[in-house]
């Protein structure tokens, strides 16, 4: 039997705090064979990234490896002195980080960062290193690499930057690549390409891959074997097909069940009844939004020089009362701009938004109606709640400003009722947001949205900052509340599976244009537009596992 590239045995990583020790990784063991792609999957806090950091020797102090061993090709590396560990990095173990926008130094050209990495490890002169850098970029699929090598990172798109990052990680020919959520910050269509590039480069250079991700779909398409982690421990190890089709441990079963899939499931909502456009509850008519680009305040004084960028172009759709419309698109498609116009945060350049027959941008009455009927749930529950306010005040604010409830006991009563509705204990109203987990915070955000008794809620990526199991709970809650209060949702998401399970109808937005809209099943099962088909094909889905 061949020797594993990486062998981890009973690894324990601890973080000593003032009076207690937090064990981030607790007795983890697994092997990675040469040329193998091993997926490490788990929810946030499972210790998967920490395991990766331990292997490459980049645990942030005061964290440290408390016990166990890490062997690279049989050679023990966890107890090496720092200088020798540093020599392994890049040369024998490469790493790819999650966010390509922040992993490159913004002040140096891509070429400089590549050549310095190559020259740090290989005995090449400047010209040879540059040639190798160009070859690597070509291999990573960067068009016109020879010209673009002297560009700065900000001149590349997110997907291109991640290609550069992968080229950098592989530059010195390491035996092992640790990819920590390499595609989580990217759009679906780009994600698929990056996975391909990562796989291709690693197999070309004979590197094994430790792929750390929360996305089971990515693992299903990429990895040979997988390790499921939970609370710092390995729950289950096996081949990808085995674990997805026949999970043995209860945690794995639950994790797999909570992943939404783009295949129609039982319990998914029914397609909307024949949409009667003129009577629909929400009507968006030919919405257009232009942004000016070019020039600061000074050039604006000069006439006729402003260029316009049309972020949203003639978008029209309707939503029936009590139904959910899913708006799908990649970053830059204009979906968030649409949301902001509908909730009244950005003024449309032209077009109309009618909610229950009132034009919400008509001023006066329309404005008042909007404040009463329309609410919003934001993507990041860590950023959308005021950290200095107690939960009670956060939830009560819309009531107070709209004059729904003024006296103290009545407000507290309503807040308690809302907290119960979102399945939180009413006793938590005296706490501050930081005392809650991400899922709980999003429930608080939902309670806040409900507190003004709206009829229409715009949800901008409501679950994309959450773990899958939490996501499933939040989506369940949203569905239950919709039934109870007859809410109408506009669900904006890049996650096609979530949209499939939640929406009655779907619109697909691409570069500001609504390329396709219709009942959910029709869009997913029989897409007409090329772009929609491309999006659906690109989704990594566990149902696609071979």
């Amino acid at each position: 039997m061949t020797e594993p590239v990486l062998s981890i045995k009973n690894l324990v990583v601890e973080f000593p705090f003032h009076d207690e020790v937090f064990t981030a990784v607790n007795g983890v063991s697994f092997d990675i064979m040469p040329g193998e792609v091993v997926g490490v999957v788990g929810e946030s806090g499972a210790g998967k990234s920490m395991t990766g950091s331990a292997v490459i020797g980049l645990i942030e102090p005061p964290g440290h490896i408390a016990s166990g061993e890490i062997r690279l090709k049989g050679e023990r590396i966890d107890n090496l002195p720092e200088e020798q560990k540093a020599k392994l990095r890049g040369k024998r173990i490469g790493m790819v980080f999650q966010d390509p926008l922040t992993s490159l130094n913004p002040l140096y050209t891509v070429g400089r960062q590549l050549t310095e990495t190559i020259r740090a490890h290989l005995p090449l002169n400047e010209a040879q290193a540059r040639q190798k850098a160009i070859d690597l970029l070509v291999e990573a699929g960067i068009p016109k690499a020879a010209e673009r090598i002297d560009s700065y990172p900000h001149q590349f798109s997110g997907g291109m930057r991640q290609r550069v990052v992968i080229a950098l990680a592989i530059a010195a020919g390491p035996e092992l690549i640790i990819a920590d959520e390499p595609t989580s910050a990217l759009d679906v269509s780009v994600q698929a390409q990056i996975i391909k590039v990562l796989k291709k480069l690693c197999s070309n250079h004979g590197a094994a891959v430790m792929l750390i991700t929360h996305d089971m779909g990515v693992i299903a398409q990429t990895a040979d074997r997988m390790v499921v982690m939970h609370h710092g421990k390995v729950v289950e190890t096996g081949t990808v097909g085995d674990i997805i089709r026949r999970p043995r441990e209860p945690y794995t079963v639950k994790l797999i069940e909570s992943i939404p899939t783009i295949v129609r499931q039982e319990g998914a909502v029914l397609p909307s009844a024949a949409a009667n456009d003129d009577k629909a509850y929400v009507q968006v008519k030919s919405l257009v939004r232009d942004f000016e680009i070019g020039g600061g305040s000074f050039t604006k004084l000069l006439p006729g020089k402003t260029e316009l960028f049309r972020a949203v172009n003639e978008v029209s759709f309707t939503i029936n009362k009590g139904e959910t419309f899913g708006l799908v698109g990649e970053s830059g498609s204009g979906k968030s701009t649409c949301a902001k116009m509908i909730v009244g945060l950005v003024r449309p350049t032209s077009g109309q938004i009618l909610v229950d027959g009132h034009d919400i941008w008509a001023g006066g009455k329309g404005h008042q109606e909007r404040r009463k009927r329309v609410q919003m749930i934001f993507q990041d529950p860590y950023a959308s709640l005021n950290p200095r306010w107690r939960v009670r005040d956060i939830i009560a604010e819309p009531m107070r400003t709209l004059g729904i409830a003024r006296n103290r006991t009545e407000v507290e009563h309503r807040v308690a009722a809302l907290l119960t509705k979102v399945r939180l204990d009413p006793g938590v109203m005296r706490k501050f947001p930081h005392e809650f987990s991400g899922g709980q915070r999003q429930r608080i955000a939902i309670a806040r949205a409900l507190s003004s008794q709206p009829e229409f809620i715009v949800c901008d990526e409501p679950t994309s900052a959450l773990d899958v199991s939490v996501q499933a709970q939040v989506l369940d809650l949203m569905r239950a509340l919709q039934e109870e209060f007859g809410l109408t949702y506009l669900l904006i998401s890049h996650n096609l599976a979530v949209v499939r399970q939640m929406s009655n109808a779907v619109g697909v937005l691409h570069n500001g244009v609504l390329v396709e809209k219709g009942p959910t099943d029709q869009i997913f099962d029989n897409p007409q537009a090329d772009y929609t088909r491309m999006l659906l094909d690109a989704v990594p889905d566990i149902s696609k596992v071979a």
Binding site: A86, G94, F97, N105, L107, T117, A120, I293, G296
Partner: protein, 326 residues
């Protein structure tokens, strides 16, 4: 790049015009220049004649126009107190101030950046603790106290260095420098240290804070993961990113070193524009005050322009931003 500088220049002109206007208002409306020039026992006819001669009877905008055109030629009128042209007074004293500011800026920059880097990289060491504690003292002690303390130790007790004045100066025709004589250099040491101490500690703490911030970023972690040497990471990648915000603050601080060296100049009786200003305020010498106001504004505008250009050189994102206008 050129368009960017042109735009900044245009903005600078606007700023200077506004400041000139304020200086003009001060000059024209703070007290009556005529009565302060003629004194108590003058007749109404004298007043009227002087008014006419100074152009004070002309309309407001004509007077402002004259003020600006004169200022552009470096003429700010005649000092009430010293009966000399203001521009001449300032030019005589400017070299002293500039040499002092220059010396203290170099001390502040070299030591501030150096110590900032040292304390950021050697975070939990004894040396860092000592430097950080001392820096607190530097930030919190008022300048005059530091000046007096230094005078007491090095001039009065040890008698190593002179306690006041500029020492011997060499006249180069257009510039009288103290940098070429031994006594001039010796005289510069104490005031330069005094003036630099606050800036030094400020720059040091700023560099340290920024550097610690940068060392936590993803691209530094990635640089480590790529196996670059500590040296390349700290001085190649981290330092340059640290400099972007540091340049702004440092630029403005150096501006205030030149413009507001007043206290140090007073303590050391340094014959610079700061002490000229203090003496002028005492006797309401309005032309000098107005000229000083314009001068300080000019210093800040020029430094800001330099800072903007440096930003441009350091950060490639801005170069593109200016091109596409975003």
């Amino acid at each position: 790049m050129l368009a960017f500088i042109a735009r900044r220049l245009a903005q600078s002109v606007v700023v200077m015009l506004v400041v000139a206007f304020i200086a003009f208002l001060v000059f024209r409306y703070v007290g009556d220049p005529v009565s302060s020039m003629l004194g108590q026992d003058s007749t109404m006819a004298d007043h009227e004649a002087l008014r006419e001669r100074l152009g004070l009877n002309e309309p407001f905008y004509v007077q402002f126009y004259h003020f600006v055109t004169n200022a552009l030629q470096g003429q700010f009128g005649i000092s009430y107190r010293l009966q000399q042209p203001v521009s001449q007074l300032i030019m005589e004293r400017l070299p002293a101030t500039i040499e002092l500011a220059f010396a203290s800026s170099i001390i502040a920059l070299v030591l501030g950046v150096g110590l900032g880097i040292y304390t950021a990289l050697r975070q939990r060491t004894f040396g860092t603790g000592v430097i950080m504690t001392l820096s607190l003292i530097g930030v919190s002690l008022p300048t005059f106290l530091i000046g007096i303390g230094l005078i007491y130790i090095f001039a009065v007790e040890l008698k190593w260095l002179p306690s006041f004045g500029r020492g011997q100066v060499v006249d180069l025709g257009w510039w009288r420098t103290g940098l070429l004589t031994e006594s001039g250099l010796r005289s510069l040491i104490l005031p330069a240290i005094t003036l630099s101490l606050f800036q030094l500690t400020l720059i040091m703490r700023l560099v340290r804070a920024e550097m610690l911030e940068v060392l936590r970023t993803d691209y530094i972690r990635f640089a480590k993961a790529r196996g670059l040497s500590q040296r390349a990471i700290n001085f190649g990648h981290a330092l340059r990113n640290t400099m972007v915000p540091v340049i702004t603050i440092t630029g403005l601080q150096l501006g205030s070193v030149i413009a507001f060296a007043i206290i140090t100049e007073t303590v050391f009786q340094w014959p610079g524009v700061g002490s000229l200003f203090v003496n002028s305020v005492a006797v309401v010498d309005v032309p000098v005050m107005a000229a000083y106001l314009v001068f300080v504004a000019l210093v800040f505008v020029v430094i800001n322009l330099i800072v903007d250009i440096l930003y441009f050189i350091v950060d490639p994102r801005l170069r593109d931003g200016a091109k596409s206008g975003r």
